[in-house]
Amino acid sequence: METWRRNPLVFWIFLVPPTIWLAAFFLVPLGLIWVFSFGEKRGLVDIEITWSLANYVRALEPLYLQIIAKSLWMAGLTTAICLVVAFPVVFAISFAPPRWKPILLLLVILPFWTNLLIRTYALIAVLRTRGYINFTLEWFWDGGNQILTAVGLGDLQLLGASFQPLQLLYNNTAVVFGLVYVHLPFMVLPLYASMERLDKSMIEASLDLGASQARTFFSVVAPLAKPGIVSGLIITFIPAMGSFLTPNLLGGTDSQMIANVIERQFKSANDWPFGAALSFLLMYATFGALAMRSLLARGSPGTEHGA
């Protein structure tokens, strides 16, 4: 590191092009919708900037408040499920023979490299009424019926007159299922990183001193892995909260999340100021979560920065 004064020409050469790009094609667009969020819609395309908070106040209407609450709830539930699933997975990887660790870890990350849209589409094929799950269930239903017929109970229609496929798609459960599917690696990676740093002899000592596995987990492992848990919770929650594609493709009319409302304001409802205000609320929530992470990380020992 040297001070920029030692070589001002080189400094400016490296500073100017990326800064201009960032300003022109990132900060200006963001600033534009920030200004729009204080505006009012006039006619089809015109937006008058009135510097009113009306759009933000409108976000507090019960209809939108409910959608925001729903987004928070679905993202929170996704994060919680990811944490519960990820911990045993991380334990399995972390205590696996060294030869297996990279392979298992790669297996967790690999789906993450495939396109989000394609993974969501793959879930549609699994969950739809004529999808693989319902097909398997129907197969079991047929089998069960044949057995009943064979033992002479076929006429009683114990399993119903015909197979009723489960409605697995286009509801809230499908959205949470899809969000967990997409975000699980976000939870596994930071948890694994902090489990690897954790001194395993601590766990051994706790068990030797007579603590149960459960107590060891809650009083030794969890506090020591706290930085990883916090990181995992937040970097799972942030993208889950802003998800657009998963609720759009897997959700029904009542499982729309905040990003879907934003999209509608910009595309079909054509109310840009309101959509802009919602975007900024989502962005403030993101910054809040990030700030919380660094605040919590500062409070715990042995934290590394940046990861």
Binding site: M1, T3, W21, F91, W113, N115, A125, R130, I238, F266
Partner: protein
């Protein structure tokens, strides 16, 4: 001593011979692990498998066929979208690598007032929700009156600009990680031996940075090829990219052609990411 430890060992072992720390050998943990992998892989594996299935209904296996790949290849809209995606990814990668490398060198080499806020601002495109960036780009290009109906490939300009804006910070992160292992004495030696600043940069810095540049470039390429949300807001009817095209097909129905098209994209991105990671790990300094 040995008896004590042997005694401890036997006390700590359960009937099945699993030690208290052998978590990876516990049945329930193994079941969770296997269940998780099934959950993660079954949908993708079935998607790929059924792209070769000789049945439109796409549920029961009726024999191997390549006809859906043939159909996808003969689908002009799909091919056009694929060519658009590759063009966008190619141009956006080149610009992203240049801008990203500049940011990386700037932050690695210089100390300047406002460095921390500057760094935070540059990394902003990585953290803000995609939907926010998408609508910002939509509003921006509409407001400045970005010309519509330009001849190909100029009509892809707005998508390319949006892709560069979200890719170059990722390139900066990758290149900076590579630079962290650079020994600045090499640079000083080159200068002492009479090389100019430019020569030092070209003959010492660039060769050292190359693996980072390639890895960052492949990352930018994959990010661009994969992006749906931001492109969805910047693309018009005549500038459809591959993911946007697949999206409209998916909305319409679940067909084997979509499976075939998806399989191609999965293979391309997994290969590119694997190469990028391999390059990055191979060149990462040992102490990092």
């Amino acid at each position: 001593m040995s008896t004590t430890s042997a005694g401890l060992e036997s006390r700590r072992r359960t009937k099945a011979g699993i030690g208290p720390l052998d978590y990876s050998r516990r049945l329930w943990i193994r079941l969770v692990l296997i269940g998780t992998f099934l959950f993660l892989y079954a949908p993708i594996v079935t998607l790929i498998a059924f792209s070769f299935n000789d049945s439109r209904r796409n549920i029961v296996w009726r024999g191997f066929t390549m006809k859906y790949y043939e159909k996808a290849l003969n689908n002009d809209g799909l091919i056009e979208a694929f060519v658009n995606s590759l063009t966008i990814a190619f141009v956006s990668t080149i610009v992203s690598v240049i801008l990203g490398a500049m940011v990386a060198i700037l932050l690695w080499r210089f100390r300047f007032p406002g460095q921390a806020p500057y760094e935070g601002t540059v990394m902003l495109p990585i953290v803000i929700p995609e939907i926010c960036m998408g609508v910002a780009m939509l509003a921006f290009f509409a407001r400045i009156g970005w010309p519509a109906g330009l001849p190909w490939p100029l009509n892809l300009g707005s998508i390319i600009i949006a892709h560069i804006s979200f890719s170059f910070p990722f390139v900066a992160v990758v290149v900076r990680a590579r630079l962290a292992g650079f020994n600045r004495e090499l640079e000083e030696a080159a200068r002492d031996l009479g090389a100019s600043q430019w020569q030092t940069f070209r003959d010492v810095m660039i060769p050292y940075m190359r693996p980072g540049l390639v890895a960052g470039g492949l990352l930018a390429f994959t990010l661009s090829l994969d992006d749906f949300v931001i492109t969805f807001f910047t693309s018009g009817p005549d500038t459809v990219t591959f993911p946007v095209k697949v999206y409209s097909m998916v909305r319409f129905s679940v067909t084997p052609e979509v499976n075939a098209a998806s399989t191609v994209l999965i293979i391309v991105t997994v290969l590119l990411t694997a190469i990028a990671l391999w390059l990055q790990n191979r060149t990462q300094p040992k102490d990092m």
